[in-house]
């Protein structure tokens, strides 16, 4: 298989963001990297169905998401639980996803329903438009908007309950200050 140089370039350029999205889906870096690898293999095997000029990144995200949903959900059902496995994964690999400053936020994020978390990540972090996110998730634009809104509302509920007094110097700054003082 010979790849067009621009295609190759576009695929490689999408990898960092694909990984970040994959981690947000499955909560574990090793599984996420396997997911990215399987996505790339599928994408390259079907590269002819990619329409030049369209968004390579959105195309790869769609493949990754579909693969995650079919494969990993099946596997998870086989293994055991429905709810809570994401949170458990995060708990058992705290060092793998984000530094300690993000702990609270990560915990809140883990409590969101998967559909909401995914919509929030696509729009709020990956930088996709609502329309692109809707294409990736194969749903209506309005559905994405409402998932994102519900995710934000739920997160703010979780975070305001957990740290109403936490404004002012934020935790990140304080953590850095504490580290500096110790050094």
């Amino acid at each position: 298989m010979a790849l067009d140089a621009s295609v190759r370039e576009a695929v490689l350029a999408a990898v960092p963001s694909l990984r970040a999205f994959a981690i947000s889906l499955c909560g574990n870096v090793d599984r996420a990297d396997d997911l990215v690898q399987e996505t790339l293999l599928r994408a390259l095997a079907n590269i002819n169905s990619f329409q030049p000029g369209t968004n390579m990144s959105a195309w790869l995200f769609t493949i990754l998401r579909n693969h995650f949903r079919s494969e990993y959900r099946k596997r998870r059902r086989e293994v055991e639980d429905g709810d809570g496995s994401y949170a458990e994964t995060l708990k058992s690999h705290p060092e793998q996803y984000g530094r300690v400053e993000f702990e609270e936020f990560r915990a809140a994020l883990a409590k969101l329903p998967p559909d909401q978390r995914e919509a929030l990540v696509l729009v709020g972090a990956s930088g996709f438009s609502y329309e692109e996110a809707a294409t990736i998730c194969e749903c209506a634009v309005g559905t994405i908007k409402s998932r994102v809104n519900r995710a934000r509302t739920r997160l703010s509920e979780l975070m305001s309950v957990e740290n109403v007094d936490d404004f002012g110097p934020d935790r990140t700054t304080r953590a850095i200050l504490a580290r500096t003082e110790r050094a």
């Binding site: 970040a20 990297d33 984000g98 993000f102 929030l120 709020g124 703010s156």
Partner: protein, 70 residues
């Protein structure tokens, strides 16, 4: 990055004594913080760049003279 559309004055979650205004302000602060932390968490991974295994994978797959192709 799209503007984070605030969810509006929907801070019914505050049951404290502060009426409307303070709640709305708190709501906005929290929304800003959520957006910022979400991106920080995401960018932490993005900033790791392309791990070798993926660059290697593409190199392996990208063989102009592969006998099996065609």
């Amino acid at each position: 990055m799209k503007d984070a559309k605030p969810t509006g004055p929907r801070s019914q979650m505050e049951t404290g004594t502060n009426p409307g205004k303070a709640d709305a302000k708190l709501g906005r602060d929290i929304q800003a913080k959520i957006g910022q932390q979400l991106r920080a968490l995401y960018d932490e991974v993005v900033n790791q760049g392309v791990p070798d295994r993926f660059a290697d994978l593409l190199n392996r797959l990208d063989k102009p003279d592969d006998k099996e192709s065609r």
